[in-house]
């Protein structure tokens, strides 16, 4: 009986201990990356290749998602605002929602699903096929050669993709509000401009996406680097990247919002 209780308590504590352990090794990886940042500048093309992989290839999914999210915001916003007779503020509702929350958060989650999982799979596969080992016995630090360029590429790509998402969303909202529901185009833009503040809304939103970019890319490279070197291990790591990234982004979003606005 006594032993059962002890075992039960132990099991309760296990996930927590695991979490602390993971957090510790992620931070260690981050420090390792930061220390190796200067060396990545030696080979700019690796960073460009990284941006091509995680930024360029995500353009379509980000733009299309942004457009539809904006259209939904326009439609829902119209229906709700119509009840209070204030459809004139539709533009600012769409823009503020996208700039402050939906743009950074959804872009980061989509990025994790599209590019983050790809980074994890690539690194995991390289580990499974001994490419990481091969690199380190060739006296090349895989963190310097592989991880840091991907990390920099992710940090550059996410804010740019977020801006694209928001612009596509605003255009989607404009399409629904002005072209379909015949709102006045001038009111749409001027109301938007009146209520959107450059520093509070635009820059804070982009700063958020910068933080999300760091966390999602870090999680992706960590999961790939730590994946079990088997086919199953890689698939598990890929799933983990998406799940952990989504949770982290949502939790961080609350913290950042509380701090900023």
């Amino acid at each position: 009986m006594n032993e059962k209780i002890i075992n039960f308590t132990r099991q309760l504590g296990h996930p927590f201990a695991e979490f602390i352990l993971t957090l510790g090794s992620i931070i260690r990886l981050l420090i390792d990356i930061i220390l190796n940042l200067p060396f990545a500048l030696k080979n700019i093309f690796l960073i460009i290749k990284g941006i091509h992989f995680c930024g360029v290839k995500s353009i379509v999914i980000i733009a299309v998602s942004g457009w539809f999210v904006g259209m939904v915001l326009g439609l829902q916003g119209y229906n709700t605002l119509n009840r209070f007779g204030s459809i004139s503020v539709l533009g600012s509702v769409v823009a503020l929602t996208l700039l402050r929350e939906l743009g950074p958060v959804l872009t980061a989650i989509l990025f994790a699903a599209r590019a983050g999982s790809g980074i994890t799979a690539e690194l995991g596969l390289m580990k499974a096929t001994e490419q990481l080992d091969a690199m380190s016995v060739m006296a090349v630090n895989p963190i310097r050669r592989l991880i840091v360029p991907k990390f920099i590429a992710g940090i550059i790509s996410v804010p740019l993709l977020t801006a694209l998402f928001i612009v596509a969303g605003i255009l989607g909202g404009y399409f629904v509000g002005v072209i379909i529901l015949h709102l006045d185009s001038g009111t749409f833009w001027s109301q938007m401009r009146d209520s959107v503040n450059l520093h509070d809304d635009v820059y804070n939103g982009l700063f958020k996406s910068f933080i999300f970019g760091i966390s999602v890319t870090l999680i992706s490279v960590y999961q790939g680097f730590m994946a079990k070197p088997t086919a199953e291990g890689v698939s598990v790591a890929t799933t983990k990247t998406v799940v952990v990234s989504a949770l982290t982004v949502l939790a961080l979003d609350y913290v950042l919002t509380a701090l900023m606005f």
Partner: protein, 154 residues
């Protein structure tokens, strides 16, 4: 894929991103600070007995045209009046007998400061004060007046 193609597509991507950021900064957000206007701005203030829910960055309009923004609001500790500081575009001059009024866009919309020019020969300078002011309309007061009117008639 060829290195040149990758370089090119990444270049296009970064360009799109920068255009989007520029669009958000210039077209979507208000580049509110009139002081950043090409021909500069000057500051005037006005004291109101009630400013309603007027906020910093609210527009200052003349005949509905935006000529400046509210930059600061504070309480005068002697008169217990709210002092509203506004930045006005240098292109527009107002007479010393200009009156200021706080109005609302629509019934429930945002509040703004409306200026009405007078007939004086002298113009307001930087740091000058508008003396003719009328406060914001507060709906509760209106309803209260309306109710007393009805009661009196009965």
């Amino acid at each position: 894929m060829k290195r040149l193609t990758i370089d090119f597509t990444v270049g296009v991507f970064v360009l799109i991103g920068i255009i989007c950021v520029a669009f958000l900064s210039l077209k979507v957000a208000n580049t509110s600070n009139i002081s950043n206007a090409s021909n500069g701005s000057y500051s005037i203030s006005a004291a109101f007995t009630n400013i309603g829910s007027l906020k910093i960055t609210a527009p200052v309009k003349v005949s509905g045209f935006v000529v400046g923004r509210v930059t600061n609001i504070y309480l005068d500790p002697k008169t217990y009046q709210a002092v509203v500081v506004m930045d006005i575009n240098n292109a527009y001059k107002f007479t010393t007998d200009t009156s200021a009024q706080i109005l609302t866009v629509g019934l429930l919309g945002e509040q703004y400061v409306s200026l009405q020019s007078g007939a004086s020969d002298t113009y307001l300078k930087n740091k000058d004060k508008i003396t003719l002011t009328s406060s914001a309309l507060v709906i509760e007061d209106l309803i209260g007046k309306f109710m007393t009117n009805i009661n009196n008639k009965q």
